[in-house]
Point group: C2
Chain length 139, copies 2
DNA sequence: CCCATTTGTTAATCTACATGAATGCAAAAT
DNA sequence: ATTTTGCATTCATGTAGATTAACAAATGGG
């Protein structure tokens, strides 16, 4: 079981899947002080890939729960919180609101990654994001 | 902080949000042996409501992490896993595939709740689910 | 049993977003 | 300098699913 947890000291990571049609979907970004894991659970794998979008310093932690249990639980809860919000927004909010929420969640990432990746995170095409940004700028 | 965790012994719970337009979105179901929590984190509340869809026996656990820490972590990880899958499917899979995945995740729930709730879980309207089921039956 | 309310179905129309293609543009690569 | 290569923009068209509405079926309470 080669599943790992990474603590980002500096730089920027992303995790993403590739669906049957070959399209990739960014699952999350991890800038400084975020943690990121590939397969949270060894069974029922999720095929989550991770790579660095910037030169990054990361600390690789073994998932063996050794010392700071409470701390780990807090981190996990934080992630659940983010995921819940994301599910709800995907179900109920149109792309433009998801984009605005993205800007709040990751205030400075917009400048740091190409737009196509943000589109991938939002679950829309780069073209859709482009026109959507046009509309925002126009008003 | 009145946030609780519930362990379902028998019956069926659901958790859901209500968006600004008054529409509700079922976040998850919890049949026997599942756990369910309302606000995972006291800050940044998510306005997740819980109620029982069947007569249910539940054990209310305080969220204070008392004894079985490892066990709690396993549960949390399971939830993250489910959430991740859900996010990915919402982004990449059409409603019909989400419906099929739902049937795998909750094999017998289809019979136990009204369709409108399943639609809510899937993030589509009851009408859409109805026609979608028609198409499945027809082939 | 009858009425009222909720739930499911079907169909017409509308809209957000996907898809595909053409164009411009900047950064690499040669 | 020139040729790639990848990214962003714009437009035309297609489509999944929303919306609205009307009706049928089921459920529940008196």
């Amino acid at each position: 079981m080669n599943s790992k947890v990474y603590q980002v000291e500096s730089g920027l990571l992303r995790s993403y899947t590739i669906d049957e049609k070959g399209k990739d979907h960014i699952f999350m970004f991890a800038p400084e002080n975020w943690i990121m894991a590939d397969n949270v659970s060894p069974d029922q794998p999720c095929d989550l890939f991770i790579d660095a979008l910037e030169d990054s310093i990361i600390i690789q932690k073994t998932k063996a729960i050794d010392s700071d249990l409470e701390h780990d639980i807090q981190k996990l809860i934080k992630r659940i919180e983010v995921l819940q919000k994301r599910v709800i927004m995907l179900m109920s909010a149109p792309a433009i609101e998801r984009y605005e929420h993205f800007n709040q969640t990751y205030p400075d990432i917009v400048q740091r990654v190409p737009q196509k990746m943000i589109a991938s995170y939002l679950g829309i095409t780069p073209q859709a994001l482009s026109t959507l940004r046009g509309e925002i700028a126009r008003k």
